[in-house]
């Protein structure tokens, strides 16, 4: 379980997060939604210790992220990082191999090799394994990074808007893969999403942030209503039922 207590976060005197306290259940997919500037990415970065905590406390499976060994945390929790143009000539398989660093400190074993191959195969990268990162498309590069944290083999996976560079087929494939990780391997996925429909279709648990505070959380089917969308986003898209599933109708 990821448990977050009383987090405040300011950037240059401007409040980004205010008194955020919540628990993200272990196993399953938790989606984080909210309007632009609600503090979703900041919250994710704080959980993954990419930003230093200013106030409050975060624990992952009981480990306080401020005090526990960062190398040990890297074996429990992984975040999809942004590395747009760092190391452009790195090959795909070398990048994915970095995912094993927390376990083998760069001395790859046969078992690591097998995990890397499996990660490459899971993200359709086997044919591209020797290509340099700067020769790939945005979506392929994103897949390479996903394969890297997949190979990291952590119980917790944090993803910040991973669907941004992907078309609908790749988006659905990725969401199905994350669903599979949660259902078959019992992993915990926390994902920032822009499209509420993906959250409704794939998430078990929903956290809605607005203006740096938790506006709502719970079962997506119950949380997402006409009223919530109107209140949080200030637009009057209707939530409709289709084949027993809720969908946000974005039409006028």
């Amino acid at each position: 379980m990821i448990s977050i207590r009383n987090i405040d976060y300011d950037i240059a005197g401007k409040a980004i997060l205010r008194d955020v306290s919540l628990d993200m259940p272990k196993h399953g997919v938790t989606a984080l939604i909210g309007p632009n500037g609600a503090g979703k990415s900041t919250l994710l970065s704080l959980i993954a210790r990419l930003l230093p905590l200013q106030h409050g406390r975060v624990t992952v499976d009981g480990h306080d992220i401020a005090t526990c060994d960062t190398a040990a945390l890297a074996r429990i929790l992984a975040i999809l990082p942004q590395i747009q143009d760092a190391a452009p000539r790195l090959s795909v398989s070398d990048l994915v191999a970095f995912g094993r660093y927390p376990h083998s400190r760069g001395r790859l074993t046969d078992q690591d090799g097998a995990i890397i191959d499996a990660a490459l195969a899971a993200f359709q990268l086997t044919d591209l394994r020797n290509r340099a990162l700067d020769t790939l498309s945005g979506g392929q590069r994103q897949n390479a990074l996903l394969a890297m944290i997949f190979a990291q083999g952590t119980d917790y996976l944090l993803l910040d808007e991973p669907l941004n560079n992907l078309d609908i087929a790749a988006s659905r494939r990725l969401m199905a893969q994350l669903r599979g990780l949660a259902d078959e391997q019992g992993r915990t996925v926390v994902i920032v999403l822009h499209d509420i429909n993906y959250a409704l279709a794939y998430a078990d648990h929903l956290v809605v942030l607005a203006e740096g505070r938790v506006a709502a959380m719970g079962n997506p089917e119950e949380v997402v209503t006409d009223d919530l969308i109107n209140r949080i986003y200030g637009t009057d898209a209707a939530v409709i039922n289709h084949n027993n599933r809720r969908i946000v109708d974005v039409g006028p």
């Binding site: 993954a48 590395i83 970095f98 760069g106």
Partner: protein
């Protein structure tokens, strides 16, 4: 055949070294060999120190154009030395053994490097333009302050610092060689031991943190090592602006992989060939008509422009 470039470079460096030791020797071998061996050892030490410092600095700053010299590391070394002479005075400085002065100066440079460049890298990582500008301003400030202090001090004291202000490969300060070798080899051994960490650090702050690296700590450690290596090379031969950039860029052309396990030795070998081969050519062929540093800086400077114009900065 991934080890072939390394083998070829080894052979070329060995050839340069043998020629440097033997070509045009007049007089007793018992004098020539130790005399030239000292200079050769100095050249190789400087070559490896500069290439290693440059690779490491490029890793922590996340770009391929900046080097410790461009950011003013060796200018800071000269400044600190001048400051020591200025504040301690001639008597104290002369009474200090050269090794103590060197040790003191190295310590101060390590402190300065972490304070100045540690904060700079934390704030501007990824912002190449701001980093280049800040580096140029730093380097100019350090050089101006050095020149100012040098004008104010006694001409006799000036001699002490003069040697730290000009690049000179002909008169390597072989008195310092034992201490410099120990420091330099120690630093290089540490860099090599942590080569896999540097690979991770090169991915950037977020990716390295995700993989469990303490990025801030590793960056400070890398800067300390860079400061030691720059001290060694500056104390032995003075500042050489563009050697590091030239040899590390060439090394990246020779080997496309991004791993430090390959980049560090290849850059060191190319650096050794450039200095030993260059000094060989200038001493024996051109009869010392041009200092080596001028040639290296000319080529390196042109290369710097080429890299900037090509825009392949990162």
């Amino acid at each position: 055949m991934r080890s072939r470039p390394v083998a070829v470079l080894c052979v070329v460096l060995l050839l340069c070294a043998v020629l440097y030791m033997t070509l045009g020797a007049k007089g007793a071998w018992s004098f020539v060999i130790p005399f030239r061996a000292g200079k050769l050892a100095g050249l190789v030490l400087v070559a490896v120190a500069i290439s290693t410092a440059t690779v490491l600095f490029q890793t922590v700053s996340g770009n391929r154009i900046l080097t410790p010299s461009i950011m003013g590391f060796d200018a800071l070394y000269s400044l600190l030395l001048t400051g020591l002479v200025f504040f301690l005075g001639a008597q104290a400085t002369i009474q200090l053994p050269p090794m103590a002065l060197f040790g003191l100066n190295t310590g101060l440079l390590m402190l300065g490097a972490v304070l100045l460049f540690g904060t700079l890298i934390a704030q501007t990582r990824g912002d190449l333009l701001r980093m280049i500008l800040t580096g140029i301003i730093f380097a100019t400030l350090f050089r101006s302050l050095t020149a100012f202090w040098q004008r104010m001090i006694d001409p006799n004291e000036f001699q002490v610092i003069q040697v730290a202000s000009y690049a000179r490969f002909n008169r390597i300060d072989t008195d310092l060689l034992p201490l410099a070798s120990v420091l330099c080899l120690g630093a290089i051994a540490l860099v090599w031991h942590r080569r896999r960490q540097w690979d991770v650090l090169a991915l950037g702050h977020d990716a390295a943190t995700n993989l469990g690296l303490r990025v801030r700590l590793e960056t400070v450690f890398a800067l300390l090592l860079v400061a030691v290596l720059v001290s060694v090379s500056t104390a032995l031969v003075g500042p050489v602006a563009f050697l590091g950039l030239l040899v590390v860029s060439l090394a990246r052309l020779v080997d496309g992989s991004e791993t430090h396990a390959r980049l560090l030795p290849i850059a060191a070998l190319i650096s050794g060939i450039t200095l030993v081969g260059g000094q060989l050519a200038l001493e024996r062929v051109f009869a010392l008509s041009t200092p080596l540093s001028v040639v290296v800086d000319l080529l390196g400077g042109l290369f710097f422009f080429f890299l900037l114009l090509k825009g392949r900065s990162r």
